[in-house]
Symmetry: C2
Subunit: 380 residues, 2 copies
């Protein structure tokens, strides 16, 4: 018929229908998605400009404002995983030559440094040992030294399990005339966040942690101050897929086609957000806190110590010190293969030193903790 060339079959695998192991995901994410989310993701897709889908996008926007406690008009999902939403905040705020001050106390601080550099930022850093946080005085002093256009901080460092206090940081940023950009990947839905009260100008997150969704559609928000900076750019945003000027017209009243949204993931995200709203934000935060304290207590009873000082520990993710003489990787492998439980290893400076244990979203419940502790008792 149509082709004269012959087909090569070397890469044509002959596979059985997909089967996947049933894991309990207690690593740094993804967590198990709520069954209602998985059901929503299996519904038949509609078009990305279907009135039913545009209504769903409106629901996502409202609910994201609720979980972030912001009234930012520009609040929507990026059609990629959390890293894409991170890049969206950088791409839309950093113009070549802009001073960007990044607080680095973990892996994701370093990622922000790399990204901001790629967009032409004049990047400076303040650093702390991994697992610690910055004081207001340290931030003030760094702002005084560098006078950046943007201060970027990680609210919840997924690599260390530390929570950066945000009270007062927004006021400092206004005093020094810079925008405040924060990473809430491992905090949204599980840790108190008050974006507007805190004076945050740009924030991003993911779907597969505190929100209990599957990964792939990632929360993004931008304040009016950040939009003003965007409006004053002399150059186009150096990223087409993540350009808020274009994305805003799809999510806004015009509903102008930009890209084909990942329809079924948006179904899942809408459902995950609906469930958080149904539970109530304070109840959801409280649940994460209660369950993680139960975990900490159980770990202490096993004689395990935690990497982060209690005051700054995340309720979503705990870094557990691997005891001397224990092969951390082997234990994690045994948990996975013998008990179907995933926990994470350390990243960067903490590689080989800690396990990372997440109790996030749907998985933040006493049963998760009990299963992990029982399994740990067997493998250690």
């Amino acid at each position: 018929m149509m082709q004269t060339l012959s087909i090569r079959d070397r890469q044509r695998l002959n596979l059985a229908p997909l089967q996947v192991p049933d894991r309990l995901l207690l690593g740094p994410g993804p967590s198990n998605a709520h069954p209602a989310v998985l059901h929503a993701m299996s519904l038949s897709p509609v078009g990305h400009l279907d009135p039913a889908f545009l209504a769903l996008m409106g629901e996502i926007q409202s609910l994201l404002r609720y979980v972030w406690q912001t009234e930012n008009a520009v609040t929507f999902a990026i059609s990629g995983t959390g890293t894409a939403a991170m890049e969206a905040t950088i791409a839309n705020s950093v113009e070549p030559g802009d001073g960007v001050l990044v607080g680095v106390a973990g892996y994701f601080g370093n990622r922000l440094v790399d990204m901001a550099g790629r967009y032409g930022g004049d990047v400076k850093t303040i650093a702390k040992p991994w697992g610690q946080v910055f004081s207001l005085e340290e931030l003030r002093s760094a702002l005084e030294t560098h006078h950046p256009a943007i201060l970027a901080l990680v609210h919840a460092e997924t690599s260390t399990g530390a929570r950066q206090p945000m009270e007062g940081v927004g006021e400092l940023c206004r005093q020094y005339g810079c925008l405040l950009l924060i990473d809430t990947v491992t905090s949204l839905g599980g840790v108190p966040i008050f974006l507007d009260e805190w004076g945050v100008d740009l924030a991003y997150s993911c779907s597969q942690k505190g929100l209990g969704c599957s990964p792939g559609a990632s929360p993004f928000t931008m304040s009016d101050r950040a939009l003003e900076k965007l409006a004053q750019r002399k150059t186009k945003v150096a990223n087409w897929y993540l350009d808020v000027n274009l994305l805003g017209k799809y999510w806004g009243a015009e509903h102008t086609y930009h890209h084909t949204a990942p329809i079924n993931l948006y179904y899942g995200l809408r459902e995950a957000l609906r469930l958080v709203a149904e539970e109530g934000l304070v109840a959801c935060w409280q649940r994460h806190q209660t369950n993680v304290e139960y975990l900490w207590q159980q770990l202490a009873e096993l004689g395990l110590s935690l990497h982060v000082e209690k005051e700054f520990r995340l309720p979503t993710l705990t870094t557990v010190c691997i005891p001397d003489g224990v092969d951390g990787k082997a234990i994690a492998r045994q948990l996975l293969t013998e008990h179907n439980i995933e926990i994470g290893g350390g990243l960067g400076e903490l590689a080989g030193k800690v396990w990372r244990v997440g109790l996030m979203g749907y998985n933040s419940k006493p049963e998760s903790c009990d299963r992990l502790i029982a399994a740990l008792k067997q493998v250690m």
Copy 2:
């Protein structure tokens, strides 16, 4: 407990569980996903570094090579929709100052122009009226004039329904020392493609058309010639999320963490590719051709004419001329609201002039055509 600030409930919607209309998607995409794909997407996620998931990623890579007929080592999915995969080809091949020649005969040619400019390309275009294609002589003459580093063409123009013949273009590109980049968003799985035979160096596609998946995980491939250019860059790839140097280490033997993959979408993509392999590529192409010819015949019997000359018509997407005096938007709206059938309108130059009718992937079957024709008879 933990927060002293009060919660604002203004954006806390009180929603019922998600329900979506059951549409037959016969627009330019998304198409309806195969039921096996939707089932796969509802399975519980595993971790992005789980051995079971890494094995699945390997399957995706092999099967993508099969459907594209390439042996490119760098062949994988981008964790975003087709536009992100488009941007990945540009971001990894264009360095500031590189000459980029783009063939523009539709909306997506223009998108390539915009994108390549954002990455600092010195962009030149050759243009044709929307719906037409370029001859080898026209391409040769443009290469002779501009001597670009990259020639970018749209194999299947989603805005016009035209198929750009690719035979001989790769030889021309070698003669003129440039890379060949092509858009196969509306061709992969539905239209014969022989990437290696054609000498294509960079290509991208999407999941929600010929492959019968849901949108959000998008095929990407890069030849050794394109990798050589990447290795010789003087600057970092100006996009962190799409940097093949980093992505290649996640998809390659190292399996180094880069981003949290959209797990459930990759489940769906693996399943969609498995089904194409099971059917066989030639059979799949033939099915698309047979069904679209049936559609063309039915449309002709309704007295409707088609925008693209038969030789260059895509089997996946047909542009139907809206008859004089007919309100195209109203007809499409009626099809959607009264018959649950989505078709697309025209974009750009063709806005108001054509409908776009897709028969792609799972939807390429006589029943789709019959339902559409029966509904058209009622609304016109």
